[in-house]
């Protein structure tokens, strides 16, 4: 009988927390691999239109983004509510696209330049006029690979 009731109160062993850091590091690496740096501040409001036949974009590093939409609330005082083009961090016009594309091209390696895709992120309410202007300008700069950013419809 006494075999099971040996000694007095047993002390709970402390839980080792040494593996906790490993777990957290694993999480950290997961996020580092699957996410990308948020490099620009969104100055225009963009709700991309829905499309069911979208394809996933490969090689995100080969991308240049052109944002089109109406400025967000804090910029509406200065820029109005009309649809504007945002390149990198500032509001631009179609004339600046040439420089923008040239700069983006320069930042890519020689072999990847042909594969550069220009992603047009436009709000669903903008008119095609401004998008057409951008497209024409892109054709002039011979940046012909483009992508209309869209999202999958919620099922």
């Amino acid at each position: 009988m006494s075999r099971f009731k040996k000694g007095d109160k047993k002390e709970m062993p402390g839980i080792t927390s040494s593996s906790l850091s490993d777990i957290v590091f694993m999480l950290l690496f997961f996020f580092m691999v699957t996410t990308q740096m948020r490099d620009t501040e969104q100055k225009v409001k963009i709700t991309t239109p829905e499309a069911s036949e979208v394809v996933k974009l490969e090689r995100k590093d080969l991308n240049a983004y052109i944002n089109i939409g109406s400025p967000t609330l804090q910029y509406q005082q200065a820029y109005g509510t009309d649809a504007r083009i945002q390149l990198n961090d500032s509001f631009r016009t179609t004339d600046d696209i040439r420089d923008f594309i040239a700069a983006e091209r320069d930042s890519k390696s020689e072999a990847d330049r042909q594969l550069m895709t220009v992603s047009i992120k436009a709000d669903q309410d903008v008119r095609m006029g401004i998008v057409t202007d951008v497209k024409q300008e892109l054709r002039r700069c011979s940046a012909l690979k483009i992508m209309y950013s869209a999202r999958k419809p919620a099922k």
Binding site: T35, P49, A51, V55, K60, D125, K135
Partner: protein, 194 residues
């Protein structure tokens, strides 16, 4: 005799790692970028003489979207929901209608039967400056959907699998047999500017 080094207290590494984790959570975005891929036609050379590209009228379908987002495909005004079937009929031309695009028997590299009658149909998409982007993408989407469904039909018939499940070489064969010819015409400004 060397002195024994005391164990380094490692309980704070977890906290440090958490801090790093939080930093990355705040500054990065999840990689979910989707879209419709397109290739723009190159700008025509101004020095080059405009050659009269004779495209047979039966081989081209003009899809127009006006500033009120109404769609005209070929000769009749239709709704977006009908567009896909119209395009599919146009591209596949199952009954060999003389008003629908002709087919050219082409040799396809790697294809087991050697040749396949490839449709010469081209979809020409025209939009107005006043067209909303949403309507434009909806139409683009329907066009892609039509082509994708034709490709799926073809690949199930030939390979018994859906197009997306085929390997690289087989996909290329399907792409050659069912091409995606969408041309975006030079922009026109007819509607009222907004």
């Amino acid at each position: 005799m060397a002195k024994k080094t005391p164990a380094i207290n490692s309980s704070s590494t977890a906290d440090i790692a958490f801090l790093l984790l939080c930093y990355f959570l705040m500054t990065t975005t999840m990689g979910s970028h989707f879209g419709l891929s397109r290739r723009l036609p190159p700008m025509p050379d101004p020095n080059q003489k405009i050659e009269d590209q004779k495209v047979n009228r039966r081989n081209i379908i003009v899809v127009k979207i006006n500033s009120a987002d109404r769609i005209l495909a070929g000769t009749d005004a239709i709704d977006v929901s009908q567009l896909k079937d119209k395009i599919k009929e146009f591209l596949s031309n199952p009954a060999n209608d003389p008003n629908l695009p002709e087919k050219e028997v082409k040799e396809i590299e790697g294809y087991s039967k050697g040749t396949y009658p490839v449709s010469k149909g081209v979809i020409s998409l025209q939009n107005d400056r006043g067209t909303s982007y949403q309507a434009y993408i909806a139409v683009q989407n329907e066009l892609v959907k039509a082509v994708n469904e034709l490709r799926d039909d073809f690949s199930t018939k030939e390979f018994g699998k859906k197009y997306s499940l085929l390997d690289e070489d087989q996909q290329k064969i399907v792409r050659d047999c069912v091409p995606q010819n969408i041309s975006e015409a030079e922009p026109k400004d007819v509607g009222k500017r907004r």
